[in-house]
Symmetry: C2
Subunit: 447 residues, 2 copies
């Protein structure tokens, strides 16, 4: 796991954190990993900042659940009010869930006209698989080589990123991630679609019926691959020609993260059959969902009993509606586009002066910076040094990619220019301390 | 589905509810079912009551999520306070999750010493299956004939209650539910264990390695079968002798529901390898979990990356800790035992005077009443008439069982004698209106 704390270094930690690490091992077991070479104990959040137990402040350029801002007062009030009024399930009639559903569906193409609620993105992915397999009567699923789609048995089977100890399912085929910067003259969209077509043919040759292709619309775990916008249309065509469904995993790109559009797939101008969403949907409240064409859902919905006890409960819906309010009222999509563009331009300028940065990519407030060594090979150690160096300077980011050499920069959506500059300065300082090249333009910038 | 609203009768509903039913069909699709012949629109909850849009009051003898009482002020305050302070995930260090985990584990046998958090009971069941299959390297699972364990792909495969449109998995064997009232002199625990042993042998004969036996410790969907306490020990012995794991599904019986003990398996004096819990854990906040022997979890935890974004987040833990406070401070387990015994005795008295009630069962505040026709055959229509008759009289219960002829009575845990009498009077009135036999003892009782 990228940016994981190494438990073999526990003895070197301060006593307070050391005690927590040991208690975690004792009661939560070894499955619970911490971030950073020196784990953080956070006790408070407000806006784009979090605070540790000693009162130190951290600029949050990582967490994509509290996208509207930590402890956003509008969301806190909506949840607190609803908690005190009623929290029940969908087998009683209620209007708020319908009001919210209609608002949510209005952000989708017209033919994506039904929504079902779950509690987590994993449950949403799992439900999308169930719907797809029921509808197509196939079982085969195609994913990218380093995809991650969740933690249920079925979602983990389509998540090769989990590594050798979690086998990819026997009915799951993988394709290489898109190569947006290929230089051989081949259109990257056509090349990616050709890989999907080959996988479908191979799957069918093995007697496995094709159910669905699923991809994160930003390819977050494959290294964050947003461009060129539009490159997914040929894949949609290939999938539909083979009778399969296209599932857009919007758990990470959705809810205005990419700046250009509300949903990541919209940047590509495509219409998926199913979209799954989660993380920022309730700004921390466990709510997620599946938006699907009614033509595809109808028979499943009629014949299969599916009841999610907490899914779409009164409080989760109140949280989700408040999040939509904030996105609209505070112009978070436009802000993501504006601040994301600024950050990308500045990072590109920095990259042009550094031998260690091989690429900068991004859409809105979801940015990637690749690090390489002197031979041009992926440098996971350099990426790790930047992540931990920023943490020491009070800025939180993460890492990703097949080789772990890609910085994952996901500022909260209300980031201002001042927050962006705070990030850039810390970034610049970190590179300087590592002895990397510093472009003058960044080093000389004032706050 | 027992107690489902029949959408073909939509035209007969009042305009307000009719509009909601039509909107639901349009945006949520046909998968979303409502309860009752006339669905309820509920807008407020307080203690053991809920209120509809017209201000009518309903005594809640059904919902097992808000077990501590609707909108319990201690839980509402804990959630509201934590929402305003911080809501983040388990990859940062924090003490509250450890404080809660230690309290929770203290209610379990000593060897069940690790806990992992999920958001739903389904995710917990799914994780228990992943752990079991990893540990045993088998895939085969044994469940009872009308079991329900959840909605993920893997959980639905072990849920025959979902019916013919959701096939039981190929690696899943079913056994007949326990028959506690068999009269042939055979010990019901030995008889049930013999069925499990046969299933294991048949599974192995088919080349499928045995991973786990899983059962709701109250057999809720098999008709609610609590007695005789202790009958599960022979099954644990058979499962362990075959190298499999025993998973106790405590989503329904857990958290003091059965009155006698905190966990349903404790009534039977057994020690499972894994227990899964959910529904009432956060009194409506989506939190669930798996408690497991560290000896079983260790290798899975070390080798398999499992991160549940919302699982064990700051707010969910605050809710769960508040629920434990309420259970302890208000003596809800003792209350469940006391009021449950009173209700059972009164219902048994009623049954003895009725040809239509063939059995009354229960443990704590989880009670079952079976209805039969004049030939002694299961009478789902009579059960449905009681459920809907009670709803008209302002009391909420549900139905269950293989034949849908069993009333599912699950009062909120703070039920008092007065609430129990309110329930019994409405029950008596309902039977009277149906023209069933009324025992004088109930009819004559004052409030």
């Amino acid at each position: 796991m990228v940016n994981a704390f190494d438990v073999s270094t526990t003895d070197a930690l301060d006593p307070a954190i050391q005690a927590i690490v040991r208690r975690r091992a004792r009661v939560l077991g070894p499955g619970y990993k911490l971030f950073y070479k020196t784990p953080l104990e956070l006790v408070r959040g407000e806006g784009v900042y979090m605070y540790d137990a000693q009162g130190n402040r951290y600029l949050d350029a990582y967490n994509n659940v509290p996208s509207a801002g930590h402890c956003h007062p509008h969301v806190v009030k909506a949840v607190s009010d609803q908690m005190a009024k009623l929290n029940t399930h969908t087998r009683y009639a209620a209007e708020p869930i319908l009001d919210y559903s209609e608002r949510l569906l209005a952000t989708f193409p017209a033919e994506m006209d039904n929504v079902m609620f779950t509690c987590t993105g994993s449950e949403a992915v799992d439900l999308a698989l169930r719907i797809s397999r029921f509808y197509t009567q196939g079982t085969g699923v195609i994913v990218t080589a380093n995809a991650y789609h969740g933690l249920t048995t079925a979602a983990a089977e389509i998540s090769p990123q989990l590594g050798a100890n979690v086998p990819v399912g026997q009915h799951v085929w993988t394709v290489a991630a898109p190569q947006p910067d290929r230089t051989d003259g081949v259109d990257p969209g056509e090349a990616f679609a050709a890989g999907v077509a080959e996988a479908i043919a191979d799957m069918q040759r093995h007697g496995v019926g094709f159910a669905a292709f699923i991809a994160d619309s930003l390819f977050s775990t494959d290294g964050i691959l947003p461009d060129p916008a539009g490159f997914l249309q040929p894949t949609v065509n290939v999938v539909h020609a083979a009778g399969g469904l296209y599932i857009a995993d919007e758990v990470q790109p959705g809810f205005a993260r990419t700046g250009d559009t509300m949903w990541g797939f919209q940047r590509h101008g495509i219409v998926p059959d199913i979209a799954v969403m989660g993380k920022p949907m309730g700004n921390g409240m466990p709510i997620a969902g599946v938006v699907v064409k009614s033509a595809i859902l109808d028979e499943f919905g009629t014949k299969v009993r599916y009841f999610n006890t907490f899914g779409g409960n009164s409080v989760s819906i109140a949280a989700a509606a408040a999040v939509l309010d904030v996105i609209e009222n505070e112009g978070l999509q436009e802000n993501s586009q504006k601040i994301g563009r600024y950050l990308k331009e500045e990072l590109e300028q920095l990259a042009s002066g550094s031998d260690n940065v091989s690429a900068v990519r991004g859409a809105g407030l979801y940015l990637a910076v690749d690090f390489v060594d002197e031979a041009g090979l992926p440098a996971a150690d350099a990426a790790s040094d930047v992540i931990n160096g920023l943490r020491q300077r009070g800025v939180l980011i993460g890492g990703t990619g097949m080789y772990g050499n890609t910085l994952k920069i996901r500022p909260l959506l209300p980031f201002t220019h001042a927050h962006a500059n705070e990030f850039l300065h810390a970034f610049d300082d970190t590179l300087a301390a590592m002895g990397r090249n510093r472009p003058a333009s960044v080093a000389a910038r004032g706050r």
